[in-house]
């Protein structure tokens, strides 16, 4: 029992499960998953599907944060990648053909990759503080997206492109499959190779790592490249979902939600140890919370405050300091209240 409580994912999981439980109690159909034409539907499936963009961005953010960095430009990269993809499709003679869509995807992802390389260059090679380096692209990126769409909201009608966000494959939403694939690929790369542990070493102690011969620069660089690429995919899913490239709204504030997801999952903003599983839980918590707000019918004017309040509660529940306060309080209460249980009574178990 103690080992479970001590596990780093215990409290994040408790937060997520509690949210799901509250929703289910409020409206029992929340938990229901129905099968229609061999495809899965339900509130939980919607949460999984809708969380895909945030999931991808948060995965990249996790790696960047592990290197003691931060990537504020992910929302802007989403806007750029969506703009690039839709502009290509919009400009082509056959917007509905698979070939056009594939070309659009490749170009958009290459652009996102280049933007990630730019961030990595500023941080790892030039040595600019991550928050400033990525702020540059955060501010400039939406301008670039607006340039690409010439100031309009580009809309398209392309069945293959819409499939990305709304289609189903083997009974599951395609966006969810992308999400799962991304989680698997990132987890495999980080944990099956030594990239994960070297990233952690660099994040925990950059100078010791450098002196130990770790290519710290390359590792930090690759984190921003990965984050850029993942944000690019997220931008495509987002634009596919609304069938439009909206340079101003795409991925707005997603960097902040991604940071929140990473922290809720138990990865420290100080860098170092990171947990992919934790981030996944963090993302699902945020997405469930958003669904809760819709589900409980919280008026839209109050929803940001409601969201914030719940986040505060979730963060407090996870706070180690609060845990130790609670332990001391319980201990004093017990020793005061019932001396017959003996002084050796274990409290935290």
């Amino acid at each position: 029992m103690k080992a479970i409580v001590k596990h780093r994912l215990f409290w994040p999981s408790v937060a997520l499960l509690t949210l799901i439980a509250i929703n289910t109690i409020a409206r029992p159909q929340f938990i229901l998953i129905t099968v229609r034409n061999g495809e899965l539907y339900g509130a939980l499936i919607d949460i999984l599907r809708n969380s895909a963009p945030l999931m991808l961005v948060a995965l990249g953010m996790t790696i960047v944060i592990a290197t003691r960095g931060i990537d504020l430009s992910v929302g802007a990269i989403m806007a750029v990648s969506g703009a690039v993809a839709l502009t290509i499709i919009d400009g082509s003679a056959e917007p509905g053909s698979l070939g056009t869509v594939l070309i659009a995807l490749v170009v958009a992802l290459v652009v996102a990759l280049v933007l990630g390389v730019w961030n990595g260059f500023l941080v790892a090679v030039v040595g600019i503080q991550p928050i400033i380096a990525t702020l540059v692209l955060m501010l400039a990126g939406r301008g670039v997206a607006l340039l690409i769409t010439e100031g309009f909201i580009t809309t398209v009608n392309s069945t293959p492109y819409e499939f990305i966000a709304t289609g189903y494959l083997v009974g599951l939403p395609f966006a969810l499959l992308i999400s799962i694939a991304a989680i698997a690929v990132v987890a495999l790369i980080e944990r099956r190779t030594a990239l994960g542990v070297l990233t952690e070493a660099v994040g925990i102690n950059p100078e010791a790592s450098r002196l130990a011969g770790v290519r710290a620069r390359g590792i930090v660089f690759s984190a921003y490249v990965a984050s850029g690429l993942l944000a690019g995919i997220a931008g495509i899913i987002y634009s596919s979902n609304i069938r439009a490239a909206d340079a101003n709204a795409a991925g707005l504030f997603i960097e902040l939600y991604a940071i929140l997801a990473v922290v809720l999952g138990g990865t420290s903003l100080m860098g170092g140890k990171f947990t992919i599983a934790g981030t996944v839980i963090g993302v699902l918590t945020i997405q469930t919370l958003e669904a809760t707000i819709l589900f409980l019918g919280v008026p839209s004017a109050q929803s940001p405050v409601f969201f914030a309040l719940v986040v505060i509660v979730v963060v407090l529940v996870q706070s180690p300091r609060l845990h130790s306060w609670a332990r001391t309080a319980m201990k004093t209460a017990r020793t005061r209240g019932a001396s017959d249980t003996g002084p050796r009574a274990k409290v935290a178990s």
């Binding site: 099956r192 190779t193 030594a194 990239l195 542990v197 070297l198 952690e200 070493a201 925990i204 102690n205 100078e207 010791a208 790592s209 450098r210 002196l211 130990a212 011969g213 770790v214 290519r215 390359g218 590792i219 170092g272 140890k273």
Partner: protein
């Protein structure tokens, strides 16, 4: 000169016990400090001096024991608490705000007010008055960082005076001062003593201890050896009390330095004229197969700077490096590692250990870094390497899954040594590998160095403890004021001779 023993002590610590994971840092130590005395705390690195000071100043909570200050039992929960009670500390690394002016630093938190604002004129006047009383006439509006460490230390003492310190702790205040500056500091200390301030002095310079102290307390291995009036404790006896059993344990190692080294062939490493402006004047050094070259010199003499240039941790501006006769360019640690050179930094916590990774991860980090991120060292191979080196070096506790940050200093040092030995280097550079670690670990590390060098590994060994350097090294490079002043063959050289060589100009040789 000696303090009046009739005066009631201002600080009385009894039965102080502090435990760290795996180590008993202090074991029921008693210590007392009287007003108007200079009391030296002596002991080897890792004896518990710093821990005792930190217990007194509220940095560490005590596990057992009582601290009485000014007649009242106290338990400080922070250094601010201790300062409030009149206990101020001046560290070797001055902990003031370098980007504030001298006056602001002295008066910080005690600025005279005028209305709702600060009366800066009065503040600087007040600061100047305090500094003047220490014989320091400097512009209080100048930046603290524009002054030498010596002046900064006096400013820190000035600040202690503002706080009305009854107890002043000077932790290794002289290690980076020159002789004139030490004299200036000592006259300030003497003046404070006559004003009734109790001064706790820590220094590894015996001369200074005997010059300034009234009483000496000796710690060894976390235990109190005894408290003595300075005139009752001859130097030889002090050293014996400090070193204790280590003397016997390490006596056996003395023979290893007397080993003939074949210096006819190509050296493993030869550096000529490596230097860097502001860090090191161009210096030469060479190391042969199986040789231990010691580097002796005071802190800040340029010994660390020299090895950092050799390893590529800092970039050399001048000079050439040859590895096995082939010209090599070490502009980053990786290049040195490619040439099979390893470097263990003097700053274990900041530049060595990756605290939040496990012991096993720390040990294989060197191999893994060499292989690159994509070729992960397999579980079985990793376990074998970790097991081999943890056993060979005696890492305690023998738990590879423990976080490295939770180990004691000595065991962290062993982990670092393991990390480097696992990469099978041809030359290993050890900068202060035995600083602040317990005697047993110290002996283990020295034994390992002796054994490895006898088997052909070349070593550059830096230590503030000259006994250690002479014990292990066949040749000693002597440095002073960021300059190599000469080289000695260690056989037949006594510590006194070496100290003399470091202190005086080194006229025997012109480097």
């Amino acid at each position: 000169m000696s303090a009046d023993t009739a005066v009631a002590p201002v600080v009385e610590m009894t039965g102080i016990t502090i435990r760290f994971p795996g180590v008993l840092a202090l074991d029921a130590v008693d210590f007392s400090l009287r007003p108007g005395e200079v009391h030296s705390l002596m002991g080897e690195n890792g004896a518990g001096k710093s821990t005792l000071i930190k217990a007194l100043t509220g940095v560490y909570p005590v596990d057992a024991g009582e601290i009485v200050v000014g007649g009242q039992p106290r338990s400080f929960s922070s250094t601010a608490d201790a300062q409030e009670a009149g206990i101020s500390t001046v560290y070797q690394e001055v902990n003031l705000c370098a980007n504030l002016s001298v006056g602001e630093n002295v008066m910080l938190g005690h600025e005279p007010r005028r209305g709702s604002g600060i009366d800066w004129k009065a503040a600087h006047r007040e600061a100047a008055r305090h500094l003047q009383s220490l014989g320091l006439a400097i512009d209080t509006r100048s930046m603290l960082s524009s002054h030498s460490i010596a002046i900064q230390q006096l400013v820190a003492i000035g600040r202690a005076m503002v706080l009305d310190a009854k107890v002043l702790i000077l932790d290794e205040p002289t290690s980076s001062l020159d002789r004139g500056e030490v004299e200036q500091l000592f006259s300030v200390i003497r003046d404070l003593r006559t004003r009734g301030v109790a001064i706790l002095f820590v220094s590894h310079f015996l001369d200074q201890v005997y010059e300034i102290s009234d009483r000496i307390t000796v710690l060894r291995n976390g235990q109190l050896v005894g408290e003595y009036a300075v005139h009752e404790l001859p130097r030889g006896e002090l050293v014996t009390k400090m070193i204790g059993r280590e003397l016997d344990e390490l006596a056996a190692l003395a023979s290893v330095a007397d080993r003939a080294i074949d210096r006819t062939g190509t050296p493993v490493l030869r550096a000529t004229g490596v230097g860097r402006r502001g860090a090191l004047e161009p210096a030469d050094i060479d190391v042969f197969d199986g040789e231990v070259v010691g580097i002796a010199g005071l802190l800040g003499s340029g010994r660390t700077e020299l090895v950092r240039l050799l390893y590529g941790a800092d970039r050399a501006e001048t000079g050439q490096i040859e590895v096995h006769g082939r010209s090599a360019k070490h502009s980053s640690p990786r290049q040195a590692i490619e040439n099979r050179i390893a470097f263990s930094s003097e700053d274990r916590r900041a530049e060595g250990i990756v605290a939040d990774l496990t012991v096993a991860e720390n040990i294989v980090l060197g191999i893994q870094a060499r292989r690159g991120a994509l070729r992960k060292i397999g579980r079985a191979e990793s376990d074998a390497v970790v097991q081999e080196y943890m056993t060979a070096l005696g890492v305690r506790p023998a738990d590879p899954s423990m976080l490295a940050g939770n180990l004691s200093g000595g065991n962290q040092q062993k982990v670092l040594l393991a990390r480097w030995l696992a990469t099978a280097p041809e030359l290993i550079v050890l900068d202060e590998p035995t600083r602040g670690i317990d005697v047993g670990a110290k002996a283990d590390i020295q034994r390992k160095v002796a054994e490895l060098s006898a088997n052909g590994l070349s070593v550059i060994f830096i230590s503030s403890e000259l006994e250690e350097v002479l014990r292990l090294a066949q040749r000693v490079v002597v440095m002073r004021d960021r300059r190599k002043i000469g080289e000695l063959d260690s056989s037949g050289v006594t510590i006194e001779h070496l100290i003399d060589y470091i202190a005086n100009e080194g006229q025997e040789s012109v480097a």
